[in-house]
C-alpha cells in the first residue's frame, strides 16, 4: 500500500465514536477539510503536512445547535460567531425572525450577508411567523410572505422552516396562507424539516399540527406533553428550561436518545460570555447524570441528522472535519476548535483572523468565561449593517403626559386587566384589579401596578398601547427597550411618569437599546443601534452592559430567573396569556385585542 497524504494529522487523541458512543485512541488524518481515516491501530499509514500532538486530549465533533436565534444575543452575526468558536460550536441553524420583524425580507438577507465571513457554519431557518400573530394585533417593520419563504427555501444555506408559532390558529383554520405553504412544501419535499412551537398542545390538536408536516418542537413541556411528542414522531429539541433530571431519566428509560438533541434557542450576551453556549447545556446534562458520551451524541450527531446535515456530526471518514480538543472531559473544557480541519480558536491564541478574541489563560474557561477583547477595538467590518439600520427608531421624544391614561368612570373606580409576571416563566397571567379614576384619568401610580406602554416605532402612525403590570416585575423606576419580542416596538414600563419618560427617550436617543431609570437618573443602558435590536460591539462589551441592565432591574425589585427575557416578552402575543402590543392588550388564547377596562 502506497503512503497516503493528508493536510493535518491529529495524533493520539481519545477520539469520540458517535456510533458506539465511546472514545478510542487513534490518529486522525484530515484531507480537504474532511476526516480521511480514524486510525485506531495507529499504523502510520498516512503522512501529513502538519501534525497536532493530542495525546491525553479528548477529540469530539464540533457542537451543532439547530434551533437558535442570533439576535437573542443582541450581537451581530460576526461577533456572535467568534465567541461561538470558543464554546466549541461549529454549526448553527439560526432563524432571523427578529430582524425579519424589523426589516422584513431585507432584514433576513442582511442578517445572512452579515454572517458570510463567519468562522463557523451558519445555516438558516425560514422565518414563518412574521408578524408572530397578524398585522391586526401588532405592527412590525416588515412581514414575510409565503413568496418570500419560497424564495428563501432555494438558498443553499437555508436548512429548515423556522418555528411555526401560531399553532392555535393553524390547527383551527385550514385556509391560512401558511397552511397552504406548508402543504405545498411537504408535497414537493418530504425531507425539509419544519420547526414547531406548540407548548401545551395535546391529543388531536397536537396531531393536527403534526399532520401538516411540522415535526420538531423546542418549547417547554410537562412530562405528558413530552411523552406525546416523542410518541407522535416529533423530534424534541431540549433547551435549558427543559434540561431537568426527570426529562433525561425519562429519555434514558425509554431509549429515546436518537429522537432528541440539545438546543439553545435564546442565549443573551452576558450569559453567553460567562456561561457559554451549547457547551453549557452539555455540561448541565452531565451535572444531571448524563454521560459525556451521551451528551456529545445529542449535541452533534442527532442535531446533524435532524436538520439533514449528514455531512457532519461525527468523526468518521468523509465527514466534515469539525472537531474540538478537550483537556478535561468531565468539565467539557474546550481547548481548541477546528472547522473544516483548520483551527479557528485555541486557548490563548487567536485563529479567527479577526484580532478580537484572544483569550486569557483562565484555568477553566469552559465554565467561567471572561472575554479579553482588545479595549477600544473598532467594530469589525463584517459587523456592519447598511446605514439605514442605524436610524430605525422612528419616534419623536415623548412628553411625560403620554403616561396619563384617560379612563371614564362614574364611580371613581374601574376594574382593569393586569398582566401578572411570574418568576419561572415568560408567560403572564391575566388578573383583574380595582383601580381609582380621577379627573378622567386612571390613577395607576402607587396602585401596586406599573404602567406599561408600547410605542409603534416604524413610522406607521405612532400607535401606543397601554397596559398594567404586576407580580415579579420591578417595583420602582422604569425600564425601556426597543428589543421587545417579536415586533420590537419600544416598550416602557415604570412606577412613575418621570422615569418612564427618561428611559424611553434615552432609548430613542440611542436609536435603539435598553435603558433603566430610577430617581430621575439613567442607572444602566445598552445601545442597540443596529435595527434597534443589535449592538455592533464585541460580545464581552455587550455582555457587560447587559449584565448592568440585569443588575439594575433586580435592584429595582424584578424577581425573575431572567428579568430581561421576562420583560422583553411582555410584548409577545404568541405566548400566553395577556400581552401588550402597540395595538393594545392582547388576549392570547382568543387571539384578539381586549380593552384595559375589564367588562
Amino acid at each position: 500500500m502506497e503512503t497516503e497524504r493528508a493536510d493535518l494529522l491529529v495524533r493520539g487523541a481519545k477520539v469520540y465514536n458517535s456510533y458506539f458512543k465511546r472514545f478510542v485512541t487513534a490518529d486522525v488524518p484530515v484531507r480537504g477539510g474532511k476526516f480521511l481515516y480514524i486510525d485506531s491501530r495507529r499504523s502510520g499509514a498516512v503522512e501529513a503536512d502538519s501534525t497536532v500532538d493530542a495525546e491525553g486530549l479528548y477529540m469530539v465533533p464540533g457542537l451543532i445547535d439547530i434551533h437558535m436565534h442570533i439576535e437573542s444575543s443582541m450581537l451581530t452575526p460576526g461577533a456572535f460567531c467568534r465567541r461561538l468558536a470558543e464554546c466549541g460550536v461549529t454549526t448553527i441553524v439560526s432563524e432571523p425572525h427578529e430582524m425579519a420583524n424589523v426589516n422584513g425580507m431585507q432584514g433576513v438577507l442582511d442578517m445572512i450577508r452579515a454572517g458570510e465571513n463567519s468562522p463557523v457554519d451558519i445555516f438558516y431557518g425560514i422565518p414563518s411567523c412574521v408578524p408572530s400573530t397578524s398585522p391586526e394585533l401588532e405592527t412590525t417593520g416588515g412581514i414575510i410572505t409565503c413568496e418570500d419563504m419560497e424564495g428563501l427555501k432555494e438558498n443553499p444555506w437555508v436548512a429548515c422552516v423556522g418555528e411555526v408559532m401560531n399553532y392555535r390558529t393553524i390547527i383551527r383554520e385550514n385556509q391560512l396562507e401558511i397552511t397552504r405553504f406548508l402543504k405545498g412544501l411537504r408535497e414537493k419535499d418530504r425531507m425539509f424539516p419544519i420547526e414547531g412551537h406548540c407548548p401545551a398542545l395535546l391529543d388531536l390538536d397536537l396531531a393536527r399540527f403534526l399532520y401538516l408536516g411540522i415535526n420538531g418542537d423546542h418549547t417547554e413541556h410537562s412530562m405528558e406533553e413530552l411523552e406525546q411528542r416523542f410518541a407522535n414522531g416529533m423530534f424534541m429539541e431540549i433547551q435549558e428550561k427543559m434540561l431537568r433530571r426527570e426529562v433525561l431519566d425519562y429519555i434514558r428509560a425509554h431509549g429515546l436518545e436518537e429522537h432528541f438533541c440539545f438546543v439553545t434557542d435564546d442565549v443573551m450576551a452576558d450569559t453567553f460570555c460567562t456561561q457559554g453556549h451549547l457547551d453549557a447545556l452539555v455540561r448541565r446534562a452531565m451535572e444531571l447524570g448524563m454521560t459525556a458520551e451521551q451528551a456529545v451524541y445529542n449535541a452533534s450527531f442527532t442535531p446533524a441528522r435532524r436538520i439533514n446535515l449528514l455531512d457532519r456530526g461525527a468523526i468518521a471518514p468523509g465527514k466534515i472535519a469539525d472537531f474540538l480538543l478537550l483537556s478535561d472531559l468531565d468539565a467539557f473544557a474546550v481547548g481548541a476548535t477546528y472547522k473544516n480541519g483548520k483551527c479557528i480558536w485555541s486557548r490563548g491564541e487567536d485563529r479567527t483572523g479577526q484580532g478580537s478574541m484572544s483569550r486569557d489563560g483562565a484555568e477553566r474557561p469552559g465554565t467561567e468565561r471572561t472575554g479579553t477583547e482588545r479595549p477600544g477595538a473598532e467594530p469589525d467590518r463584517d459587523m456592519h449593517f447598511p446605514e439605514s439600520y442605524y436610524h430605525s427608531i422612528r419616534l419623536e421624544f415623548q412628553e411625560q403626559s403620554r403616561f396619563a391614561v384617560p379612563m371614564e368612570s362614574d364611580s371613581g373606580k374601574v376594574m382593569v386587566r393586569v398582566m401578572e409576571i411570574q418568576d419561572g416563566s415568560t408567560k403572564t397571567k391575566e388578573t383583574i384589579r380595582k383601580m381609582p379614576v380621577k379627573d378622567g384619568f386612571l390613577q395607576w401610580e402607587g396602585s401596586g401596578c406599573l404602567l406599561a406602554a408600547v410605542f409603534e416605532r416604524y413610522g406607521g402612525g405612532q400607535a401606543v398601547g397601554y397596559g398594567l403590570v404586576t407580580g415579579d416585575c420591578h417595583k420602582q423606576g422604569a425600564v425601556a427597550t426597543s428589543y421587545a419580542h417579536d415586533c420590537h416596538n419600544v416598550l416602557v414600563a415604570g412606577a412613575n411618569p418621570a422615569d418612564m419618560k427618561l428611559a424611553l427617550n434615552r432609548v430613542i436617543e440611542m436609536q435603539g437599546g435598553m435603558a433603566v431609570a430610577d430617581g430621575g437618573k439613567i442607572q444602566a443602558e445598552l445601545p442597540l443601534p443596529v435595527g434597534g435590536i443589535l449592538s455592533d460591539r464585541p460580545a464581552r462589551e455587550v455582555g457587560e452592559k447587559l449584565a448592568g441592565i440585569r443588575r439594575a432591574m433586580t435592584s429595582q425589585g424584578y424577581r425573575h430567573y431572567n428579568p430581561i427575557m421576562s420583560f422583553c416578552t411582555l410584548t409577545l402575543p404568541a405566548s400566553p396569556a395577556l400581552k401588550l402590543t402597540d395595538k393594545g392588550l392582547i388576549d392570547v388564547k382568543a387571539c384578539k385585542i381586549v380593552p384595559l377596562k375589564a367588562e
Copy 2:
C-alpha cells in the same frame, strides 16, 4: 372541539409505535393518504367515511426494502409488486442494473416505466457500475455513463446511487469517471445516499471508500468487518446471509440498532412465492431471538430514514398511511396490506385491481405461501416491455464443436485454472488442475471438471470465453442461462458437449431463459423472454418453473444452498476469485483476464 373528518378509521388495533418500540391500542384515522391521529384514548373525536374493525390485530408500518433488485426475481415490476403486497412490503428501492447491462439507459427507463402502475412505491437506485468492471473484461448490452447517472438523479423516484461495486479500483485510482461523479455529487448534495458493495475492505482501504461519500453496505462480512463498518459510520444493510445470531447479538450489545436495517438484495421467484420477501427476514430475525418490536423497527423506520424517505416508516400523524394488519405477531402473518390508506391486498380478497392475485384461505400464508393466480390468465398490460426486448439473444444455434477447446501441449498434459464452487458462498476459489490434452484439444470430459462457456449475445462479434468448473456444482448433464450476472451473456456449463449444446440452444430458442439438459433431454426450463432476464408471467408460474430448474440442478449433483445464484454469478467479475466472462477467465483481485492454461 368540532368533529374532525377522516377517510378511514382503523379501530382498536394494537398499533406499533416506532419511537417507543411498543404496541399501544388505539383508533387510527387516516385522511388524504396520511395518518391523521393515533388516538390511544379512543376518544371518538374523528369520524370516518369507512371503518375497519381491527380489534385483536396488530397494526405495523408497511415494510420498506431499500436495497434490492427486482430483476433478481426474474419477474417484471408489475408481477413482482403484486406479490410484494402480499408480503407486506409497501416501499422498495430497486436498482435496475441487470436491465441496464442488457439495454443501457433505455433499459433503466423501461424498467421504471414498467413499474409505474405498481400498487407499492418503487424508488430507484442509480446503477453505478454498468458494466460491473470494464468493457475490456466483459461485454454488456449497454453502459451507464456519468451523464446518464446525473440525468437519473433528477428523477423524483430516484432515491440513491446504487451499489458502487468496483471498490478495489476506486480506492486505488482517483481519476476514474465514477470517482469524479461521486465527488461532484457530494459537493452538491450532502444528503443523497450512496450504496456501497465492499466485502472484505478494512482499515485505510475502507476509509478511502467512505471518504468518497459511499455510506452504506449490504454485503456479507466477518464480525471484524462489521464492527469497522459501524464504527466508521457506514449504514449496515443486513441481508439473509448476514442474518446470524452473533450479528444480532453484537448489534444489541453495542446499541447499534439505529444504524442498520434489513434488506433482501436478491430474492428469486420460487422463494419469493414460498418464503416471502422482507417479511421473511423479519420472521428469521425473530427466530434468532430479536423481538417483533425491534424487527419491525429495522424493517420500516431505519430503512426509511437511511434512504431519506422521512414521509414514511412509522405510524404517526402526517406520515404516509402504509400499514399492515397482522393476525399473529409471532408468526408475522400479514392479513392485509394498506398503501396510502387504501387496502391493496387482504387475505382471500384481491384489491390490486389486477385480477391475478386472489389468495386461497391458507392458515399461515406468512410462513407457507402458495399462490393461486387464475390459471391461464393473460400477462397484465403493465408487464409488457417494448417488442425489441423479446429479441435480445442475438446468437445463432451453436454446434457441439463449440465445446472442443484447442490446447497446445508437448507432454499431453497441461495445468489449467479451475473455478471451484463452494457451498455457502457465491465466491469461487481458483484451483490448479492437471488435465490431459489430445490431438490439440483439452480432454475435459471425465476430468472431474465441467466445461463452462460464455457466449456474447449482444451481436458484438460473438466472443466466447471458456473455463472449467469443479466443486459443489452439478456432476452430469448441462445447465444454460441467459440470466448470468451482471452482463447476462449466455452461460452454459456441463459434463458433456451434447447436453451443453441442447441446453444452450434451448435458451437461444426461447430468446432467453434457463434450461437444464441431461441424457439428451431438457429436464427443466424457464423462459425469460424479456431482455433475456425476465419472464412476463405471474409470480407463481415463474416460481414453479424456477423451482423445477433448482430441483433438476440438485438432482444432477449441485450441492449449494442456492444453486441458481451460485451458477448465475459464475460470470460476475466483481465477486472473487476466478470468474468467467465472454472475454475469458477473470482474476478478480487483479482485475485482469488470465489464460485457461496456468503459467
